[in-house]
Symmetry: C2
Subunit: 401 residues, 2 copies
């Protein structure tokens, strides 16, 4: 399927771009086919009331404006790009995608990473804790999550330097120091908060749409050897904090309406604040089809629809203790893994802890080698058989320094 079809008038994702003639001038862009619309310039052209929000060096102002503004802006963009009366004037503000540079589209406030795939959590539990139960006793009662490092969230294309750190191989009596030998990816979907919430209040399941601006693809790079040694008892830290890559396009939540599906049945009834099976509750399972490519070869196709916990449940959980939301908060799903082996979203699972390396045309891979390039891509069903592209997030591994 061509990019033109993946980025049609039902998608219209937001990003930030610069052109070579003005490299310091970051502008809000909207992807349309193989072009990028300079949204601020178009808004000025058409005299939009939202021109100020779109003439910013980050998406945060638009994100903070709230859902009715998001809907209004989206309707205007669609009209400018598709109505016969407007198209010609809008076209003056289109730039070929191939000629622009894309940037991290928003200022990240807090970053939270969840652990919401039952298949992933079960596999990791079996690999990391072979003598215990695969799932911890809390897993089906709450969406487990932890805070990650917001300052090292980077845009697609940013090189990923192999981290150094402590690891303790089996049989060693003390940890060794050096470059990670078990560098991995995690294929995830990130949710970007627009509308903030006050400290001391909760965001219920029913308010998900009011707060979440859009969706990004996310690669939660992970150094498994560093992580395995450090993570008991307070969780992952340096094994994750060296880099988290996101796609340059934020797909508006409204563009994913046709992709909403019922989440898988839960065998443990959720507590009321997490119960999305009550009458009138919206389904926030999402039929996003992910692809993981390593040096151009597809190594996995994780289905997001298989996630046990939805993003709406994650948001409700994250705020049930009164924690506030800020514009720019980013929360990620955790590794997306399906039931089948070829649907697993990280090398740890795909190679079962490195024991069964992948056989690729250019060699065997247990974990990532220097020079390897990983790309995550995804699409979702749109209206009337259209497809909504979520773009790509890519990164190449550079040697440790």
């Amino acid at each position: 399927m061509s990019d033109t079809a993946l980025f049609g008038p039902d998608n219209l994702p937001y990003g930030l771009f610069t052109t070579p003639d003005r490299p310091g001038h970051r502008r809000v862009g909207v992807r349309f086919g193989d072009d990028v619309l300079d949204a601020g310039a178009a808004a000025a052209e058409f005299g939009s009331a939202h021109t100020d929000l779109l003439q910013q060096p980050t998406l945060n102002a638009l994100m903070a404006a709230g859902r009715s503004t998001w809907q209004d802006v989206r309707a205007q963009l669609r009209a400018w790009l598709t109505d016969d009366a407007h198209r010609e004037r809008a076209a003056r503000h289109l730039h070929p995608l191939s000629g622009v540079t894309l940037h991290l589209p928003f200022d990240v406030a807090d970053y939270v990473d969840f652990y919401a795939s039952e298949h992933h959590a079960t596999n990791v539990g079996r690999i990391f804790r072979p003598d215990g139960d695969a799932l911890t006793p809390n897993w089906k009662h709450l969406p487990i999550g932890y805070h990650g490092r917001a300052g090292t969230v980077v845009v697609s294309g940013t090189p990923v330097v192999r981290p150094q750190g402590q690891r303790k191989p089996p049989g060693e009596t003390a940890p060794l120091f050096g470059p990670s030998r078990r560098l991995d990816i995690e294929a995830e979907v990130g949710f970007v908060v627009g509308t903030p919430s006050p400290h001391g209040s909760r965001v219920g399941l029913e308010d998900f749409r009011e707060h979440v601006f859009g969706v990004t693809l996310l690669n939660d790079w992970s150094a498994r050897d560093i992580q395995a040694w450090e993570y008991v008892p307070l969780g992952p830290f340096l094994g994750k904090s060296f880099a988290t890559s996101v796609s340059p396009w934020i797909t508006p939540l409204d563009a994913l309406d046709a992709a909403r599906v019922a989440p898988p049945p839960r065998d443990v009834p959720p507590l009321p604040y997490l119960d999305d099976t009550v009458d009138g509750a919206e389904n926030w399972g999402l039929d996003l089809r992910l692809t993981v490519r390593l040096n151009g070869h597809t190594i996995s196709e994780p289905p997001f629809s298989a996630m046990y916990w939805t993003a709406a449940q994650q948001l409700a959980h994250m705020t049930v203790n009164g924690a506030s939301l800020r514009t720019g908060d980013l929360f990620a799903s955790g590794t997306v893994s399906g039931d089948a082996p070829e649907q697993r979203g990280c090398l740890l699972e795909l190679t079962w802890g490195g024991k069964t390396p992948l056989q690729l045309p250019d060699g065997e891979r247990a974990f990532l080698e220097d020079g390897d390039e990983v790309t995550l891509a995804a699409w979702a069903p749109g209206p009337d058989g259209a497809r909504i592209g979520l773009g790509e997030v890519t990164g190449r591994v550079h040697p440790a320094v």
Copy 2:
């Protein structure tokens, strides 16, 4: 000891304040005795080259300016406040502390919480994991830490609403939902990063002074029942993220020179990047004397000098994987607990998991009750027998909503 003596010319901590006549106008303030100097106004008065940095609604610009600027500004402030030639003009810009409102002094970037007291970690290990070793095998090899929620860092005086969440009391087969019944404090010291570091580089032990702007007191409010149920395997999340309180004054690192002491001997030799025993290495143990008061009664006096890992080691560890630093990064020591029972920095330890409640004049306390007020205070030795006050961080518990 009077506040005047704790905030003399060797201290000069920074904060942000407003006056009742201009409640929206946040200004950089410097505490001097029982007054606050309007630093931006004084800088303009004296024609300082740093006036712009001091006429800001946050400390971040000054923090980002780097150590030589910090030293320069500090020397100017001291001269304005103490030289006979300047004092009178400076006095025009002093406001009585009792008449101003203090605000969160800086924009928090990432927040990291460590776990650096051997006494605390040993006690918690015994209480939470009575059947295992008190310290995990990694504890003496690396300063264990995790990312917390930056968006819920609040200034002293902000009410702390009792969080709701899931807890699973012994004997229950499923978790219950409701207000935390084991609300606790953690007496900590926070370190505030000024100078950023590039992504992909490390900050060595020897560069600590170049990056850390100053020190704050920090109360890492903790809901022990929520934490105990959620924290395996990815660490604390909602049990901590509802509120973290910091003192309104950031004491410059240079004000603590006389408080630097050798850290306790380590029984496991640290890896080279953490080894502060080599020739020429600076001691970054700090002789800070903390006091914890509950409803006005002193319940503990934790000695910061007993911390196993120093802040310099924490900073070196946090960046050894190439993670960047941003201006406004905040990292906290973890609960400060000494060897003696009356030096323990949280109720979990002081009451041994609630089994031996504190006997206070106004009743028994295992964990915090609604209406309780907790205050942390601290001082450090200064030059020539002076004392450097670190101010106070206080918070009152409000009922769950």
